[in-house]
């Protein structure tokens, strides 16, 4: 099973190189699709024309990349950190790829070497002749958290040029379905679609990769644990039972105490952070125009940045969108530690629990990653998601606001958040309980503020979005739900279904 991974590479860019680099990146982006060309021309009107020399070197045959799910180049312009220090311009290059890493980088250089060299020549340092591979590998940045919406599936399996991709299989089966006589039995339907798959070269289920299954606590193991506990209580001497019980109580109390103190400290910090932000706003003044960024730390506070970002969305020819989001981390060690801890937890949940294509109950995220940059002074977020920004943000707020608030309340100008310091544990327990009998979903939340301040949170998100100059998707017309459904079709094709399972499989076609 191929391992999907995230490659993030960052290089500083000297001030004098920012403008030509931006032009070059826009030109690279132009060549992804014709639609892109029309679009980028409009973006270009806002910028000085790119030199002809650069244009020749910016053409990448993206369709030849077999290891790349998504790819982007983003120029992060110079900005200011939360303590007022300047952060120089940075070029970020990121891929969601099928491992191993070396083969992926070799392919990148093989297909797009000239363009990569042209782009990175604006960086500091520039790659040495012939040294592109080590140049890229050495500049890798680790992520704090990485989420995959369809883990274990390679690009070739999902889409691919070959007729062996799962999307092609679905189409073959669909064509067969369209020719079926009516009425027809379920068994005949399966026989017919199997035969058509066989004629197209699908031999057995082995061609289809097994997606990761949610690790289930199997019931046998639960019985063993329960038995062991019972045996312990029955046969161990009473003083030992008492000891274990007492130490459990002490442990829980300690946990409550630690979380409570931690939350209280964060709440106190929040007050001073807010005062500092207010003072800064008073000093720097409001944004230059009504849709500009409220955050004075942002490199470009004007409405123009927002317009470039929105004009890059909902392109024709794909149903997906991307987001690049950069924001300062609030000063102080406690903030950074909290952020690191929560991202660690998100990463753990993302790779161990939410492996069926749904983060929370959100089935629209292909890949997302969080990276700490600039010596842990800023948080960089990349996401490749289905459908519109409005729906993406809405899903986040409605279904995953705790995660969002937990992460981004540690960054500047985030909507006001109070950590329920002493009630975190009861709230978390209520969250984990099965559907409560009464009350709405809203009763099951850790934070009542933060991202739940819907309008303010959406505005804050827009305030910190950065235009993604180059963005490529390998399967622009497939949603996460499509990809996962296709895998289930492929997996079930040669399985012997009985009863209800047969109907369930046929419904996926």
């Amino acid at each position: 099973m191929p391992e999907q991974s995230a490659l993030t590479v960052l290089f500083p860019v000297r001030d004098e190189n920012v403008v030509p680099l931006r032009q070059l990146l826009n030109a690279v982006g132009q060549n992804i699709t014709k639609e892109r060309e029309v679009l980028m021309e409009k973006v270009h009107k806002l910028l000085p024309p790119a030199p002809a020399r650069a244009k020749e070197r910016c053409f990448i045959e993206f369709h030849k990349l077999t290891t790349v799910h998504f790819l982007r180049w983003v120029l992060l312009e110079a900005a200011t950190d939360a303590e007022g220090r300047r952060i120089g311009a940075t070029l970020a290059f990121a891929t969601d790829y099928d491992g191993p890493l070396h083969a992926h980088v070799d392919e990148l250089i093989g297909v797009a070497g000239a363009a990569l060299e042209a782009v990175f020549s604006f960086c500091d340092p520039a790659p040495a002749p012939g040294g592109l591979k080590s140049y890229l590998l050495d500049a890798q940045r680790p992520y704090e958290a990485f989420y995959r919406g369809h883990p274990g599936r390679s690009v070739q399996q999902i889409w691919g040029a070959s007729n062996q991709s799962e999307e092609e299989l679905r189409k073959v089966l669909g064509k067969e379905l369209d020719t079926l006589p009516h009425p027809v039995t379920a068994e005949d339907t399966v026989t017919r679609v199997r035969r058509s798959a066989g004629q197209s070269g699908w031999r057995s289920a082995s061609t289809a990769g097994e997606p990761q299954k949610k690790p289930q606590l199997n019931s046998k193991l639960l019985w063993v644990i329960a038995g062991a506990i019972l045996a312990f209580i029955l046969f161990a001497p009473m003083w030992l039972v008492g000891c274990v019980a007492a130490s459990t109580v002490v442990l829980i109390l300690l946990l409550v105490l630690v979380i409570g103190l931690w939350g209280t400290a964060l709440n106190r910090l929040d007050g001073s952070d807010r005062t500092r932000e207010r003072e800064l706003l008073n000093r720097q003044g409001p944004p230059p125009d009504v849709d500009g960024s409220k955050d004075p730390y942002v490199s470009d506070r004007s409405r123009k940045r927002l317009m470039i970002v929105t004009d890059l969305e909902n392109r024709r020819g794909l149903i997906q969108n991307q987001m690049t989001h950069v924001v300062n981390i609030k000063p102080g060690k406690l903030r950074l530690r909290t952020l690191r801890f929560i991202l660690w937890a998100v990463n753990l949940l993302g790779s161990r629990i939410f492996v069926e294509g749904k983060l929370g109950n959100i089935p629209t995220i292909h890949f997302a990653r969080w990276v700490l940059i600039d010596d842990d002074r800023r948080l960089l977020f990349f996401s490749n998601y289905d459908f519109s920004w409005e729906s993406y943000l809405g899903d986040f707020i409605d279904l995953a606001s705790d995660g969002l608030t937990g992460i981004w309340c540690n960054t500047t100008f985030f909507p006001q958040t109070r950590v329920p310091a002493w009630t975190v544990i009861p709230r978390a327990i209520r969250l984990l309980l099965p559907q409560s009998q009464t009350g709405s979903q809203s009763a099951k939340r850790l934070f009542e503020q933060g991202a739940r301040r819907e309008q303010e949170f959406k505005k804050w998100t827009r305030d910190h979005q950065v235009p993604t100059q180059v963005w490529y998707s390998a399967y622009p017309l497939l949603s996460v739900v499509n990809v996962n459904n296709n895998t289930e079709i492929a997996r079930g094709l040669f399985t012997t279904h009985t009863g209800a399972a047969l109907g369930t499989w046929l419904r996926k076609l």
């Binding site: 024709r316 809405g394 709405s440 046929l506």
Partner: protein, 493 residues
């Protein structure tokens, strides 16, 4: 802030259109105006303000209403009438930008013949170009819309005369007037009258409406659990579904210019009735099924309005306006997979109720965050007088202009109207589908749209579905509270 979930609603200040669609006033016209002289226009406004029909408190509804008058303004209209910059800046971006921008054209699917470049009104004059986006801008000259409702044609023309006669001396100029038609039949409703209103494809329209908390009304949606939305989902100045005040010119207590106002989305949608029934009849012949049944599957209701999930076998007169149903949790015909009412049908995707995801209760809550109050009216002569599908299917194309003046009210255009159009109607991936936009109002990116009917043992697909609805013009308006209109009339330029 202490925002209440069921607040005291200020009926006297709210335009009555928020509360009712005036089914008893079947004659209607929408007049688009531009302000040529703000000073005179304000005098005209101050007189008009007294004639605007307010909403009514429970038990105080008029029995003998013969007409109703309403006023909505564009952002440019508010600007022209000298509303201060501070107030204007508080309006949400969607309203300020208007409907004709690159970003919104893509969200709404206004491409090709539907592109703003080809609109009859609502976009600034520009070079017609079928394919390019963002060439046109919102028409800066479109300022006001007068919505006139009357019990019959003579009353309508009488009111029009009284309001519009001295238009040119009132600092106003008429851009265009959009007429309407009331369609009904062929069957009767339970009271014995022809069943309506219908839209031009021949289906009963405007049935599902949310119930606005604190605002009961005979015509409004039923106040049943699962159909009640917070007041602030529609009206500015009240708490919305997140317990916050909607974005707009109100202060922290919900007071100010925006209070009791709402955003009115207007889209003139041309309907290709012959194209629709030709496609349906052709597909039905090919697949040897009933054309009316296929069309009903596309809509989600039988032509008379009966929901498919309630009565999969055929229409039932008693269920014509029935709306209190869910899909997955239906007591008699549970339909989680769309065997009765297809997943991609128009009514199931524009209000997914309990089937947005696999958690019915969460689904209902999430669906209700994207509700709109619909106030649309049809226009143009019907292809067949009595709206009988059997006749609609057979008649040759008369190339006439007919369709729907789609009108909806919401407090957050981007989270409500635009979301429904973009994510639910236009999205070919809705409900786990692949290439299926809304069969009535959806727009697919590529050429190949399909419609899928879920059934046992396997789904049936109807392919090469063309687009049956095209945009002819549209704009985002603000339907202010009545006090706000008086304030506008008194502003100094």
């Amino acid at each position: 802030m202490g925002l209440s979930a069921t607040p005291e609603v200020e009926f006297h200040d709210i335009q009555g259109l928020v509360q009712r669609g005036y089914k008893e006033l079947p004659a209607a016209e929408f007049v688009l105006l531009t302000v040529t002289d703000a000073l005179h226009a304000r005098t005209w406004l101050s007189k008009l303000a007294d004639r605007i029909e307010p909403a009514t408190a429970p038990g105080h509804d008029k029995r003998d209403r013969a007409s109703a008058l309403h006023l909505a303004l564009t952002y440019q209209g508010l600007q022209t009438l000298s509303v201060g910059k501070e107030t204007l800046d508080q309006f949400p971006l969607a309203f300020r930008e208007g409907m004709a921008t690159v970003h919104r054209e893509r969200l709404l699917g206004d491409r090709g013949a539907s592109n703003a470049a080809n609109w009859r009104w609502g976009s600034a004059p520009c070079q017609p170009n079928a394919d390019a986006e963002g060439l046109c801008e919102t028409d800066r000259k479109l300022h006001l819309m007068l919505l006139i409702y009357a019990k019959d044609a003579p009353t309508l023309s009488h009111i029009k005369k009284s309001v519009l006669d001295e238009l040119d001396t009132s600092g106003l100029h008429r851009i265009t007037a959009l007429d309407t038609v009331f369609l009904a039949g062929p069957e009767c409703d339970p009271t014995g009258n022809p069943n309506g209103p219908k839209e031009h494809f021949g289906f009963r329209d405007g049935i599902a409406q949310p119930h606005i908390a604190g605002m009961p009304s005979r015509e409004d949606g039923h106040a049943v659990p699962g159909n009640i939305i917070p007041t602030g989902e529609i009206l500015l100045g009240y708490a919305n579904t997140y317990g916050e005040l909607p974005e707009g010119p109100t202060d922290a207590n919900g007071q100010g210019f925006g209070r009791n106002g709402t955003f009115l989305v207007f889209r003139q949608l041309h309907q290709d009735v012959v194209g629709f029934w030709n496609y349906v009849a052709r597909q039905a012949t090919e697949k040897r099924c009933s054309a009316v049944e296929l069309a009903a599957k596309m809509v989600g209701r039988w032509p008379d309005g009966t929901p498919l999930v309630e009565s999969p076998e055929g229409p039932q007169a008693s269920l014509q306006t029935h709306d209190g149903f869910v899909y997955a949790g239906h007591p008699k015909h549970p339909d989680p997979h769309g065997f009765h009412c297809p997943v991609g049908s128009h009514i199931r995707r524009t209000n997914p109720r309990d089937v947005l995801n696999d958690d019915p209760r969460q689904s209902l809550e999430l669906s209700n965050q994207h509700r709109i109050v619909r106030r649309g009216r049809s226009y143009g002569t019907p292809l067949v007088e009595d709206m009988d599908p059997a006749k609609l299917m057979k008649i040759p194309d008369d190339q006439a202009e007919r369709g729907l003046h789609f009108i909806c009210l919401n407090a957050a255009i981007d989270r409500q109207f635009e979301f429904i159009q973009n994510l639910w109607a236009n999205n070919p991936k809705f409900g786990g589908l692949y290439d299926d936009p809304d069969p009535l109002i959806g727009v697919l990116d590529g050429e190949k749209a399909t419609f899928t009917v879920q059934k046992e043992p396997a789904r049936c697909t109807y392919s090469d579905m063309p687009r049956f609805v095209q945009m002819r013009g549209g704009a985002y308006f603000f339907l202010p509270g009545i006090a706000a209109i008086r304030k506008l009339a008194g502003l100094k330029g």
